[in-house]
Amino acid sequence: MMWLSGGFVFRRGESAYHQLDPRVKLLISILMFATTLLAKAVYEMGLVIAFMLAVATVATVLRRVARTMLLTATFSAFIFIVNILVTKNLETSSLYATRFVAIVVSTSLFFITTSPDELEQVMKTFRLPRDVVFAFVTAVRFIPVMMLDTVQIMDAQKSRGLELDKGNVFRRVRNMIPILIPLVVNSVIRSGELAEAMESRAYGAVPKPTSLVEYRASTRDRLVVLASIAFFVVVAYSFYFVPPLQLP
């Protein structure tokens, strides 16, 4: 849970990276993701991760990304152990383990620097149906509300004597029921009220709604796109065609 909120939930930031067009940020993350698939040696993966950390520094989110990396390392260690048991190959096992970390970091960089409004814009660029985009926006919008709801219900039930962390696994799962039922009931009521409010504000009135904010790629965005693609081509070429360094 902490891993998820720390590593993937947007928080407002002022850095130049935050200001980039969301589509550019998506492109950068996709290119970084692609690079992790091309790296064939652990030191190459190390370089990729170092580059991502540099980007994180520019985006002033280094601490969050570093924490996510540490938390990811647990999964990563698991991948490493399974791999080494199966392949008995130290080199590929460590490659897979570090690749996993790199993939998480590249994805996380996109999500923590892109606001839900910008995500909406990205989805619109892909011409997803309005209903799908809107469902996504409200889902993200209500994450903090639902979290608060859950905490309140848990407190209320605890004060009425519910013991959440007592007993064996089955007992604990059963203990979740008094939490889940009010949560579901709340959500049903909430969705009814949301539907009324949407109708009252002309949701679905015209097939092509307009938008208050306009995202237009600036010259800086274009330059960043060109530079990223050029850099990617060079890196991909060297990873792919230049034989890996032989470590002594």
Binding site: S115, A197, R201, A202, A205, P209, E214
Partner: protein, 281 residues
Amino acid sequence: MANVLEIEKLNFTYVDTWKKVVSDFDLAVPEEEVVVLAGPSGCGKSTLLRAVNGLIPHMYGGQYSGSVTVAGKSVKDTPMRDLAQTVGFLFQNPENQIFMFSVERDIAFGLENLGVPRPEMRKRVDEAISLLGIEHLAQRAPHELSDGQKQRVALAGVLAMRPRLVILDEPTSLLDPRTAAELVELVGRLRKETGATFVIVEHRLDLVTRVADRMVVMDRGAKVLDGTPSQVLFGDEAELYGIAVPAATRLQKLLAKDGAVGTDRLMGPEELAAETGRGKK
């Protein structure tokens, strides 16, 4: 003056139920009036408001007879998208009427849905923001707002559509007393500045009677009292219908018996004290 809202012989029963929730209801509201609608819980206030903005019969099915006309449009025969521009609806729970991730975008929500061109939309959003004095909130996310601020934002979203009639369903019931008082005062100011007409369902009568011109009491789906707030509250029937007559009003009524004060208008506690010679001079 022309009536913004006309309800004639309205009857409504929700689909799959047997109880008539609104029965033979008549009401005419002239332009720029502020009307309080009161009545015991479950008497059909919310249902009546739904029938005014078109949620009934467009979203809720049921047995419907009679007519509701808003600014000359028959609600039954006008699609929701047209009604949305004529009637604004502020709901009880501020949380569940804010959709977007930033205040500004949310205020624009209705206008975006209507396909209003960007420059016009910008103008109307800014206008609504300054009308409510929430310039400092424009870029915030909903979870960064207090309940009172959320309710203001929701009201801005409603006003950005420039409705002729604004209906509010217990807009202060989740707010603390001070924030509630501010919201009610805001309604008084908005009426002057926008020229819109307001119908408010509200239990805190001491607050709302300060801005209301008229009070309608409903009981079991029917209109039982209709007059100025002082006519309704000084009458003997209001309490029979479970209306919580404010303490100051009850005091004024008692004092009026020995002729100490008049009953032509409602007075607040300070004014009553001053009138009877016991207040600060």
